[in-house]
Each structure stands twice: as C-alpha cells, then as structure tokens.
Symmetry: C2
C-alpha cells in the first residue's frame, strides 16, 4: 500500500502558520554552539570508530530501501505490522546475501530498523544452536539450508507452564530402537511450547527441547530438530498444532508462537549431538536458566546415553550474549535520552513562581526536577556502555584461558582451575549486570517518556514503542530476578572461600578479602574523590555479602528467606562493577589520548553524578556498612549533586548527539536533530493519521445499522460500522 496516496493535505491558512516562540532548530543550534564538547571523540569511546562507520554504511543501504519505509509503523494494526515485518525480514536476507553481511552487520542493521524482526529467532536462536550443537553431518543436512533460509527455524524451549526452571520441562522425546527414531510428544496442556519467537507463523522447523527418555529412564531436556510445517504449502504437518500466541504489550512484529506435538517421530540424526571429548572436562552443576545446551548423544547401536562434557563452553556463549545485552541496553536507553533531552531543550514551560518577569517561559531542560530525572540516566547510559566493554573483556579473558588449557601448554590442573574461576566470575558478573542494565534501560526509557510530559504519551514521541519492545529483555536470556539470585550465590560461595583463607584470584574475591582485612578499622570515604567513590561501592558490596553469609550460616535463614537480600546484594555488586568500569575507562591513557580535556572533565562529572545518585538512593546500605554517615550524604544531596547538574546542563544536547543515533532510527517527532517538534507532530497527526479518513455516525439516536442514512449524509467518506 502506498502511504503517500492516503495522505490528506492541510489548508493553506494552516500551512502558513508559524511558531509563536523561537524555532526548535535555532534552540538546538544555540545549545550546540554553547558547548565545545568533542562529540566525535566521545562517540569513538562509546561506539568505537568501526561501530560508527558500520552504522553509517548500513544506514545508507537501509534508509532509502522502500521495504523499510517507516511511515506506517505507528498506525498499522498488528496484522499489518507483522506482514510488513515479514517483508522486511525477507529483504534483510536478500541484502545480507547481496552485501555479504556478517552476523554483526546483520545485527546492526536490525537495530537500525528499530523493531524486532520476524526472522530474529531464526538468526539469533536457530542458526547459532545448529552451529554450536550440530555435528558436521547435521551441519551438512540442516545448517546449509538454514543459512540460505531454505528452511526457517526457531528455538522451542519455554513451555506454557514452565519458564525459568528448565529442569521441569514436560515435552518428551522417547527413543525407539526398532526404527531408530525419537517420538516427540506434549503430554499435557502445560507442555505446550510457548513464547517461541518465529514459531507462530514463520518457522517450518523447530529445535525442540524435550526430555530424552531412553529405556524408561529420563535424562532431562535435550535439543531435537523437528519439522513442523510443509516446506511448500506451509501447512502444519500431522500431529503438529502450532500458531501465534496473540498480541503482547510490545514485540508485535514477531510471531511468538505455541506448539503442541502429538507423537511426532523424528530420525536419530535429528538429535543435536556435537560431541567434543577433547575439551576441558570440568563438571559444573549448570544452574543456568536460559539456554540449556548439552553436548551429548544417544548411541543408536548400543541404545545408550553418552553424557555431556564441558558445560564451561556453554557458559561462555551465554556470558557473551549477556555482555552484548549490557551494551545494547546502553544504546536503547540512549534512544530515549536523545529524544527527551532534545525535546526538553526545545519545549518551554513554566516561569519562576517567585519571579516578577512575565517574559518568555523557561526551557524545560532548565528545571532542576527535570535534570535530576534525565542527567543521572544520561550518566548511566555512558556508564553502561563502558561496562559492556569491560564485561566483554572479562569474557574474552576467560575464553583465552580456556584456549590455553585446551592447547595443553602450561600446568594443566592449575590452568584448568584458573580457567574455571574466570568462567565463574565472568558468568556470575554477567548475570547481575544483565539484570541491572536491562532494568536500567526499561525504567530509564519510561522516565524519558514521562520527562516529555503529555507529548511523551503520543506514539510519535517514539519512546513508548521502544519501551514496550524492550520490556521482555528483563525476562529473556534469563529472568532478571532469577539471575540476581545466581550472582548472589556466587558471591556467597566466594565469600565462604575467602573466609576459609583461599587466596583471592579474581576481582570479586580480592574486594571481599580487602574488606575482611579492614572491617574493624574506621573507614573514611570522601565522596568528592573518584577512587573513594569506587572504594565505597566495593565496601558496601562486601559488607552485604558477609552480612548475608552470616545470616544464612549463623541465623539459619533459608535462601527463600533471603531472596530479597540476594537481589539487593546482586545490585550492589553490579553497581560496584559499573562504577569501577567507568572509573577505569576514564583513567586509561587510551581514553585520555582520545578526547580533549574539557570533554574528559564533563565525562568525569557524569561518573560522579551516576555514583552519587546511586549513593543517595541506597544511602541506607552505605550507612549500615559504616561506609558513610548521614552528614556526608546530606552534603552530597545539597551541594555535590546540584553542582553536577548545573555543570552538565550546557553539554546535555551535545552529549546525546555523541550517541550518534540517526533520526531514521529514532523515528520521533520530539527527538528530531533539527528540533522541528511541533511541525512534525502536526504533520503526522493531520496528514498521515488514517483515523482522520474515517467517517462513522456518532449520533446516539442512530444505531450502527443505519449505514444508509450516514451514506446519504456523506457518501464519499463512508465506512460501515
């Protein structure tokens, strides 16, 4: 449907209207003139030079491709949006082949399109699982076709009755030696696969996590490839009941689906069975909640189960995924901030109640109550960007350690222990950070929407849609509440080990040991000093760890009693990691060489603002750990924080510019780079909005039947109710 043909035009007296006050463009230009922040230098720190260039290159490809015309996004019904989403996904595949895009390039393209894509779970769930867990033979049979999208797949794990606790999944895969098949079956209603992206409508194949039943014994969930729809007619195969699970708060461009299987047989080759006997043979009791991946198989000749090795490798994949989510959260939060800060600079509202001056209204961005809602989030977006980089570095260290062990160089047992420790540290840290970052993004986006006042509620603001689409990040790749428990468990284990005198090797253990050494001393942290701020966060995290450890061990509290404390502990640990990461980043010679002194100074202000805001919010925890006293926090509230807001204010617009988010991605009337807020709102409302082409009879005395009488009134614009 051509969008242009459906527009209506405003009368000439409307198009001749101008703004009463200064133009948005002039306001933003003046904001940009009044700060000499080095936007490009800061952008390179946040996104890397490669990332900036990649984004620009892809933007050039996508922006003018008609498949990605966004003009209907805010108006279309779910069905229309989904149809468009499928067209876009198909076009993306064509472009990927045409330009030979890597996975990273494809991911960046999807981010620029700005909505979850219909084939996402084929690309992000089906392909990686096939690649990582398939044997060479399985790659030959399935992976090639999947890469060419001759088959479209999904990853079907979650069930209607079972989410985070994958050990309770119900779907079964029963081995039948006589014909060397597995029978996949949903034994109950709650066994229905549910929430599976790309399943509802698009997929013709699914990787089904099902309990392997062999000679009557249950070996727990394993991955099985199962064809679910005919490759030509796309109709579900016999024994398969499949469909879309219905509309959601967001994410409606994806067909999250359900799947029930009625004794569906698949051949032996369909059990994913990559097997690496030569890998590090450590056995972790995998507490991971998201993807349960095992490298195991059924020996079809002996009818026996060959158990998995090396779950550490699996940890690695998930850790990488979560590190990427931290960076993604930062960028998503930055979308909201870019919109809100530009709009609040353009918008004028309210005069000083005590002022006699009846002159122009004040920029909304000059209200301190708006600054305190936006600037700490702005600081957080930078902090999370640097944290994502630090988390990725930690992941790569753990991976490198594993490779050294694999290559057989060095002392096998101590290297293996070190690799295991690094993996645990990276894994636990990534759990807490994923929870912190996705929550920060989702809550921050809502704060940005509210900072835009009434207009923030319009779809054209462009914040409501990201917020709704990003909400499930708090649940997928591990529910945040569950992940925080895992981080806390790791901290408690580490603390036990430190108490027993085991030498600290990792950052977490080092911090705990440092605290134990000094805990009886009178500590004194100066909130104006960066190092002291970091140390105060470390102190608070360590205090909470031992406090909870003692309550569990000495007071006999159960993990359920302590769930709330665990989540607070995870947050404290994660915030410690965030402030440390940002502090390290800003102190590094690399950073100092990349940006000028004024830019660095503003960035340090943001560091202090982030840290002090968290201190005030969690003041009670800093008090009970004796890290700070009330007088210090009161001083921070009254002097340091207001001072930081004032010093950041002139740079706010340039700071969000540094995120380099193109208008095309933002798709927002309020967040336009050129500040044409009001012009764009009126244009979209009056000329693009399809509701304004509708006619129905609103008179209550006319029933909805009397279409004839409406027709006689106004035949040209009639829509039957």
């Amino acid at each position: 449907m051509s969008k242009a043909s459906t527009r209506r035009s405003a009368p000439s007296w409307v198009t001749a209207l101008t703004l009463a006050g200064p133009h948005g463009g002039d306001i933003l230009s003046s904001e940009r003139r009044n700060s000499n922040l080095d936007i490009d230098g800061l952008a390179r720190l946040l996104l890397t030079e490669h990332g900036i260039q990649l984004q620009q290159r892809l933007l050039n490809v996508l922006e003018n491709d008609p498949a990605f015309d966004k003009s209907g996004n805010y108006f279309d019904s779910r069905i229309e949006r989904f149809k468009t989403s499928v067209s876009r996904a198909k076009r993306l595949h064509q472009l990927q082949q045409l330009h030979n895009w890597s996975e990273d390039e494809l991911a960046t393209a999807i981010e620029l399109i700005g909505e979850p894509t219909a084939f996402s779970l084929h690309w992000k769930g089906f392909l990686p699982t096939l690649r990582e867990q398939g044997t060479p033979e399985q790659h030959e049979l399935f992976l090639r076709k999947a890469e060419n999208m001759e088959i479209i797949g999904c990853y079907a794990q979650t069930e209607l009755g079972h989410g985070s606790n994958v050990h309770s999944l119900e779907t079964t895969a029963t081995w039948k030696p006589s014909d060397r098949t597995f029978t996949l079956h949903s034994p109950s209603l709650t066994a229905a696969k549910w929430w599976v992206g790309t399943l509802g409508f698009c997929a013709n194949y699914a990787i089904v996590m099902a309990r392997l039943i062999l000679k009557g014994k249950d070996y727990g969930p394993h991955p099985f490839l199962c064809q679910i729809r005919d490759l030509t007619t796309h109709t579900p195969l016999p024994g398969v009941y499949v469909g879309d699970i219905g509309p959601k708060v967001g994410y409606n461009t994806v067909d999250n689906g359900f799947l029930l299987l009625n004794h569906v047989k698949v051949p032996h080759i369909n059990m994913l069975a990559r097997f690496e006997a030569d890998e590090l043979a450590t056995r972790h009791k995998a507490a991971d909640v998201c993807f349960l991946r095992r490298f195991s198989r059924v020996d079809p000749d002996r009818d026996t189960y060959v158990p998995p090795h090396s779950p550490a490798v699996i940890y690695g994949t998930i850790t990488k995924l979560r590190a990427a989510l931290v960076s993604e959260s930062a960028r998503n939060l930055a979308r909201g901030l870019t919109i809100a800060i530009r709009y609040c600079a353009v918008r004028r509202q309210g005069t000083d109640p005590d002022s006699k001056d009846e002159g122009a209204e004040r920029q909304v961005l000059d209200h301190s109550l708006v600054q305190i809602r936006l600037f700490p989030r702005l600081a957080e977006s930078l902090a999370l960007a640097f944290t994502g980089q630090a988390m990725m570095k930690l992941h790569l260290e753990a991976k490198a350690a594993l490779q050294i062990v694999r290559s057989g160089s060095g002392d096998e047992s101590s290297m293996a222990r070190r690799a295991k420790e690094l993996f645990s540290e990276a894994h636990a840290t990534s759990c807490g950070l994923k929870a912190l970052a996705t929550t920060a993004a989702v809550e921050g986006l809502e704060a940005c929407r509210r900072a835009c006042g009434g207009h923030g509620y319009s779809s054209f603001a462009g914040i409501g849609s990201i917020h709704a689409d990003y909400m499930p990040s708090q649940t997928y790749e591990g529910d945040n509440y569950v992940l925080m428990q895992q981080t806390a468990n790791y901290l408690l284990k580490t603390a036990s080990s430190v108490v027993k005198g085991n030498g600290p090797s990792k950052a977490t253990a080092e911090n705990l040991a440092r605290y134990l050494e000094k805990k009886h001393e009178q500590v004194r942290f100066d909130l104006a000093q960066g190092e002291d701020l970091v140390a105060a966060f470390g102190w608070r995290a360590a205090y909470l760890t031992f406090e909870i450890l003692y309550r569990r061990e000495d007071d006999g509290k159960t993990p359920n009693d302590l769930q709330v404390d665990y989540s607070l502990l995870s947050t404290a640990h994660s915030e410690f990691f965030v402030v440390s990461s940002m502090h390290q980043k800003l102190s590094s010679t690399d950073t100092i060489s990349k940006i000028n002194v004024e830019t660095l100074s503003v960035t340090w202000d943001l560091f202090r603002l982030y840290a002090l805001t968290r201190v005030v919010q969690a003041a009670h925890e800093f008090y009970k750990s004796a890290a700070l006293d009330v007088r210090q926090v009161v001083a921070a509230e009254r002097e340091l924080l207001p001072g930081l807001l004032k010093s950041i204010r002139p740079h706010a617009v340039r700071l969000v510019d540094a995120w380099k988010l193109p208008d095309w991605l933002l798709d927002s009337s309020l967040g336009r780079y050129d500040g044409k807020v009001y012009e764009d709102l009126l244009y979209r409302a009056s000329e693009l909005n399809p509701l304004n082409r509708l006619v129905i009879d609103t008179r209550p005395d006319r029933g909805s039947e009397d279409a004839d009488s409406i027709a006689s009134r106004q035949s040209s614009r009639l829509v039957k109710l």
Copy 2:
C-alpha cells in the same frame, strides 16, 4: 462483525489434553479455604455497601449486552477499537436514558467496561463545564441539547505548545462591539488545541479556552462555546481544521484531537458567563494548573469586562475530582493485584536450591521476592482506598464551611477565614495525594505485570492495557510534578505562618507546630506501634518542611534550586496523610463494628507493611530528621517486614477477592476467579487470535509480488501482502 464465526477449533487430541499439575481452580479453592477473612465486611469498608450493589446491578445490564462484547479488544486495530468505542458510547447513552442513570452510575458503568470511552470528555468535561459556568440562558440554549446528545462537545484547553502553564495559552477571542461577536483565532502553529478528548472525531461543539481581547487589552483565558462541525454532515465548518492527534501508548479508544481556528466568529452568548455576585468574595491567586475556570463576562452594552468572583468554588470542584482520582487509583491498582496474586498462586516455579526434594515446584506466591513486590502494593491499595475516603471528607468539610458563610449565619469574617483555610488545606492535600496515588497505581500496575513473569507480557494478562490506559492520569487533572510543587508551596507558607506564631487550625499546621515544640527533644518512635509509625511520618514531613524553609529563606535558594526537595516534601506530606487516614479508619468504632477480629488483625498487618516499606525506602529522610536510627530500620528489614509477609501470605487471595472485581472487568487469562489460566491462554491464542488465519509467503526468495505463486500453494487462506 460476529466474533464467533471467525474462530478456529483445536483438533480433538488437543482438547483432550489436561494439565500436568494441580488445576488452578483447586489451588484457588484451597487458598480461599485456608483463610477465614471476612471478604464481605472488608469489601464494605473499601467500597461501601451501596458501591458493591451498584456494581452488581450495572454488571447485570452490561455483561450480556452485545455492544460490550470484549472478545475483540486485544486483537482489533486502533481504527476498529475506536469504532467499537463509539458504538459503546452510543449504547451507554441509550442505557443511561433507559435506566435513568445518575452521573455516578454512568461513571461506574464506564469503569466496568474497562476502557476509556469515546464520549468521556463530553460527559466529564463538556457537560460539567456547561453546567457550572453557563448562565440559565446558556443552559437553555446548549445544556439541554448536550444532555440529550443532540450536540456532542469537548473541553479544548491544552495547546500544542502549552500544557500545565495555562496562563501562556495563545488562542484569542477578540470582542467586536459592532456585531457583538467574539472572533476565535489560532495565531500560530503552537496555538493548536491538542490532546483534547472527544474532539478528534466525535465532537461538533468545543468549549475553547481563549484569551479574551477587549479594546486591545488581554484579559487572559476564558471559555467560549464554538461549533466546529456541521450537525448533519459532521464535516468541519469553514475556518476549522480539526482531527485526531494519532495513536498513543494507550487511551486509543478515545479520539484526542487537535483544533486550529481561522477567525471563527461566535455570538456574545457563547462566552460562558455564569456570575454569582452573592458568593464568598475572597480572591485567590489561582495557581491551579488543570482547569482554569472563571466566572466572568463581557458587558456587551458597555464593552467592559466584569471580573470573576469566588475562585474558591472552583477549587472545590477540582479538589473533589482529585479526591475521586485517589479512590480510582486504588481500584485500578487492585485490578493489577487481583490478576497478579491469583496468577502467582496458580503458577508454580522453582524449587528451593538447597533442598534435596525433587518434588513439585513451589507456588510463585511463596517466593519472598515476589511477596515483597506484591504485598506492599496490596497494602497500598487499601491505604489509598481509605485515603480517598478521608480526602473526600476533607473536601466536604470545606464545602460545608463555605455554605455556612454563604448562608450568612455566624461571624462573617472569622467563618470566611476558616472556609478559606479549609479550602487551601483540602486543595493542597488533594494535589499531593493525586500525584502520589496515580503514580502508585501506574507503577504498581507495572510491578504486577512483571510479577506475572513472561505471561504478564501477553495482552491476555490484562495488565498491559490498564497500565497503558492509566498512564495519562499522571498528567491529566494537573501534571504530578507540577502538583507536588503546589503542595510544597502550601506547606512552606503554612510553616512560615506557624513560625510567626499564628495559631494552627488545620492538621498540617498542627503537625508543624507539634514538631517545632519538640524538635530539640530526643524523640523515640517504636516501629512496632501504630501510633508511633504515624507520628514518625508526621515528624519526617515537618522536619523536611522546615529544613527547606530555612534553606530557601536563609541560604537564598530559589524555587528552581529546590524543585527536587519540593517533590520529596510533597511525597512525605502525602504519605503522612495516607498512614494517618488508614490508621484512623482502622481505629474507628465503625470499622471495628463492621469486620471481625481476624480480618481487622490482617488489615492492621497491611497498615504496618505499607508504613514500614515506605520507612525503609525513605530511610535516609527518617535518619536525617533524627526520627529513627539505622539499627531500628535494620531491625524492621530483618524481622518486622519478613514477619508481616509471612502473616499476610495465607490471606492474599481472599484479600484481592475483597476488591470484588468481576472477571468481566478484568478480562484476563491470568486473573480468572476460577484459576483456569492455562486453558484460557491457549483458547484465546489458538482459537480467537486472528493472526492465525493469515497466510503470507515467508520464503525470502519469493518477493512480495508473487501473490500468484502463494495462491497456487494455498488458495483458501491467501492474504495479499
């Protein structure tokens, strides 16, 4: 469109499936058996006997009326939903006439339908303004027709560039003595009326707030009636550019509209001009941000402006509106809680990680981390219900005082002063409470949605839609951030007056005076005692008031410097009012006579839970006011709070039952009274969901053009892309 005809049916092997675990109905029955809470008694406290019966009577009318069939709500596009909304609004008018419903009955009916209604702003904005501000002649000319809906109107105040600050509205109404008309005009783009409910599509009349210009002098905004559409063809009149402003995060069943006027003339009679010279002649500088209503007029014979009297009456209307919003917020929050608590009782997830038992999973409601997210909100819903009642009582007291003054009995000047004081107290308190209550509802609904885990994200949960629809309550009837500044201003003024030794007459002043008397004593509040809890909240509010007063007066801080402190102060004052209201309600002999001892005891637990949760959250403020020390708060966190969660747990399901929210209102798979969560999710997804009737070609090598090849594959289900 008949919904039934579009359903598809599941195959017999699917319909034969049962649940793996216990049935939801059995779980909820057992929950209800295990508590002997007096649901009906508690319901009478929350809703009154009259309210309960009214709801049931209206439910009987609405539930089986086909106009209110909700089965399409979660699937329909915005245009479909809006069309349905108009049909429903028309039907509501018919039913109102048929059953002779009062305004309250109509409002209850709208609440039961569970979505904002297309004619809401006719009923809630246009009619009351006409009634209150129209002269008898204007009533004759317009009000009768409006009541019969021969004309449909809206209240057009907010402009594209101007929201909370009504004094900067741009639209003008210029008096022309020669033909005794006002010319209504939009001088700029930002003068466009914007966000006006019922304007975009339905209204043929608008009350336009426009600056009265008389002999070149600007008298500020006044209300003018303006016809905007033809009564027969519904096409906009000449010089009128009007339409819907486009989709929003929620509220999409209402046509929030825009309006630009190009020199549109209206006769003298169209300026709303009720004039009551006999009313209390106090002059308030009306700082109100929401409805700016003036009782003033233009004398057409002398071409002069006759200024307004008695803004106190106007305050009264807004105070009543905000008191009603407190109660409405409580009920909306209860909708989310009813859904979340029933679902968390049915849902099972996670085993104790330290337990060796591999048995059944635990009810989600047994997780303490879920309890701490839901039970304090549950306590808050009750607290807000009682607060709404107390606020309404305060409003009625102020109104009664005014009537005594009007009737002329008693000492005129002291009575007038008392009436004025009461109005100010009620007004300021209602501002802060409206902000607190609507924020509590909106944030609480999101917390409820998240407590439902993944399934909370489904539209069928029924929480996302209320949340989205209720978000604007934080902005309408006064933006919460602006209202909080007003409450703080009142507190500071009162504190100044108390310092000067003016005798306290109202609760706020009494609390401030009590604090001043004792501030140098060592105070000691026992968090286990109800009275002490209330007193601690009073102490903290008073401490903050004087702290900010001194910083403003002695340190020379400006209101903008103190905006953040003002908002914290407003919250502290409002929370003091909330805990006082609940404490008074539970202590009253009326309450004690209405519910049994066990029910009262659980309700006291909820009071303590609400208060202690706020104490922990604002611990820093209690410390700096020296009301509490760290040891006390730590003890509350470790002992009191967990104990309260445990004692409330057995009653949670019956507590939400006491809100008496019918399934028809909730429209939720997760919140069904009978607990059939999974059955309903599958039914809605697989049988009602229209996406499952769609066919499009997902193969990337097929362009979207090749409809023919898709058709040949599967002609019966083809939809052209």
